[in-house]
Symmetry: D2
Subunit: 263 residues, 4 copies
């Protein structure tokens, strides 16, 4: 289980959320509170939108708490929409290509969760990625595979639908056999204008997800950045936070359970 | 194009071949002579057999020429069968999982070459890997995919046949369209007792390969370790060097061109 | 505060102590029990003696718990005298040159502790290093400076005296002003034949140190490798464990407090 | 010998000079033309000024040519004054702390050159660093020591004088013995408003340095970024380029040879 933060709002330096708060993401990298993995030291990443239509990425394999580059970049990079992520690996190697966020064209994605028995189901999940996008797979995580599958499921015209259809397809794969492998998916998705965050799980309780708004600004996090939890709203399972360009963030329930119609 | 060395013989410290010679592999990492890529600075690796039935691996993403760990390990590790490799990446990221050698069970493999249009044919080559071995794929290179395909083609009972069958299958994939993508394969394979090296290419001239023997000792290299080339025998294309346990190394031609019978 | 282990005895694979026990050093890297720093993720190192008169070193900046190279090397390297160390940085950067153990000629050293107000006293401690050894200082830690000062204080003929004289000189430096800065020194020193371990502190309680013997074999650790503490003897402050070549390890008190005579 | 570029002018994305030109700094990292070291693969760094009064830094130990973080940051970071550097180590380890640029307060520095017999003279050069700045020494290079010595020689009120006085003092140290060790110093210094570049050598020919202006914009480089050299002016030895805030860059000769008056 990893820890992450997503921000959409006025342009600010990343440090306001990533390094400065009492229980900042950096602090969570060495000691998270609401995670089964209290240490999230298996790499980290930043992703942000600026003048360029495609996001910038900065990912490295060292623990976030000791990385001087990260501290400099959080002070100097400003953005109206950014992601930050600290990783606790669940079986795949600690490489930059396996660190979050992932980017493809103008889209950016990060994830906290796991697909149960990944080595066994990996091939079938990768088969959801269209040929034209398979060359963009440079790592080996379940998270990157999910992202590219969502990309291929029609993200441009219907990002929410593409995500829910992919969740349905992957849920089918993990629940196919009798046992019903656990699947957890607490993820953020953005295109430079709109920000989406999802909380979902199959065959198991989902990971925590919170958000906080101020006007049209919104911050979405795995766990609150301060200890008193003031102002943070928990996102229930099967719900999503949708922050479209220029509009307030909304909490919405999934229109229907992510299952494939034919079931 | 990468540079590599494979040794089978009396137990010696790795430094005798990896760091000490005038034109050692470390020297080749910063300035190779018979390669289109004169700099091989995209990571390196050692693989060796000792008391344990499975090989040891040491791989890192930094250039070999400045790595103090590599120097210490080459001085202190002794082996009767070892591989060393310096990498010039051909498109896939510089991660440890993409560095050579690769290991699976008691087998070890390293490669200098490329499969043309890898992003386009990757999926079909990966499909040659059996399900039971797909979980062992932790990187994204063409080389690791070839190795796992060879593993799955019956390596235990017939390592030469498994390699040639895989070469035939991959040749079919890359030559399927009109253009005929280039494929180069200069590789070493070992199981702790036997050492095999292959020189092959399709639709293009192959990479260089040399070997030198002294009794049952054999050293196989991408390019000679000294400038006068004394004692080095060039391996022709479609040939292999076979050094079975306790026997002298032999130079053999491929029994037939690596094509699938049904062609 | 760091965690470490030192072994002297029959030649064995390092994994028997570094990776295999229930509460192995690798387990301590992510969750130590008797340390103020429960996470020791700021790099790690191995040092060992083999056929060569000088020790081998392997040090890296990533957390020990996820390093696949470390796992391979612990399985394949065998030694009759080795050190292993996981680091929790106390202010100096996470670089390989700042990771333990340190080596100089045939000597090897590692340390758990701190010299209070290091930035302020660093220059005076570095002044204890003789000119001829100053070129061997490739990092910036208090630990490496202490080691080179000990080297220069007559280590060849009197390693214990050289260590105690250096402790006296550094104690003088840190206690010079009224406040009395804390100094902790729990360290191991070896030359390929003899192994020494020291527990010392000034102006503060010292870090824990334990050892366990079986015949002439001895293991010395920051904290026990199993949860029941069976067979582990705690080393009191101002004491040392001395394991000379071919002899049983002895627990000895410091002959006198490490103060400079002229005080 | 390293390669570097310094820019002062209109705010632009770093990629315009660091990654885009035909013979960009990234291209020079794998194949420089006017350097004794054609490969500059021992780490790299960026330093830039933005809204914050202190510069941002991004340094890493991998070769610049394969670093995906560097590519993203050069596209997304914009600045009116920035440095970029690729390193060919001259004896000190490849660590982030040894990569250029160096920063201290609002000042930033980078260097191409060497102080002859560094291990022998290091201690005397470090003695030029005032106590209050010695804690800022986190690496072990001659370059960082020179920078901190310049900082301590009155950089705030007289950056040129502080640099020349430090050059005089170091020249004295390296030429003290009969042999006269070589010293090369081709360096850039900035405070967010003003940019200075120096070309100097003692007992040897200096490294190359060029600059090109367009209005008040100026680019200063180790070697031209295009192969035809059009518009580049070579900086003679004992000369400096001075680009003060809002004014055109000027080429000035050193007021007097950097020697200490008392000689």
């Amino acid at each position: 289980m990893c820890r992450w933060i997503a921000y959409r709002g006025e342009t600010i330096a990343l440090e306001h959320y990533v390094t400065a708060p009492a229980h900042s993401l950096i602090a969570q990298s060495i000691h998270a509170l609401e995670s089964t993995a209290s240490t999230n030291g298996d790499g980290f990443g930043l992703g942000w939108y600026g003048d360029h239509i495609e996001p910038g990425l900065f990912r490295d394999v060292r623990p976030a708490w000791s990385d001087e580059n990260l501290r400099y970049l959080c002070r100097h990079i400003q953005s109206h929409l950014f992601f930050a992520h600290v990783r606790a690996a669940t079986g795949t190697p600690t490489t930059r290509a396996n660190c979050h966020p992932f980017a493809c064209g103008r889209w950016m994605f990060m994830h906290n969760g796991v697909i149960g028995h990944w080595p066994r189901v990996r091939r079938r999940v990768e088969a959801l990625i269209p040929d034209g996008l398979y060359g963009s797979r440079i790592g080996t995580t379940d998270s990157e595979a999910m992202f590219l599958a969502i990309m291929g499921a029609g993200i441009t015209h219907d990002p929410i639908g593409a995500t829910l259809r992919t969740l349905a397809a992957v849920t089918d794969i993990v629940t196919e056999n009798e046992s019903g492998e656990p699947m957890r998916f607490t993820a953020a998705l953005a295109n430079g204008c709109d920000l989406f965050a999802f909380r979902y799980a199959a065959n198991v309780k989902g990971n925590t997800l919170y958000y906080r708004t101020a006007g049209t600004d919104v911050v979405i996090v795995s766990e609150p950045l301060d200890r008193d939890h003031a102002g943070w709203i928990e996102v229930p399972e099967n719900h999503m936070v949708v922050a479209r360009a220029g509009r307030r963030a909304e909490l919405l329930s999934f229109p229907e359970p992510p299952r494939i119609a034919a079931e």
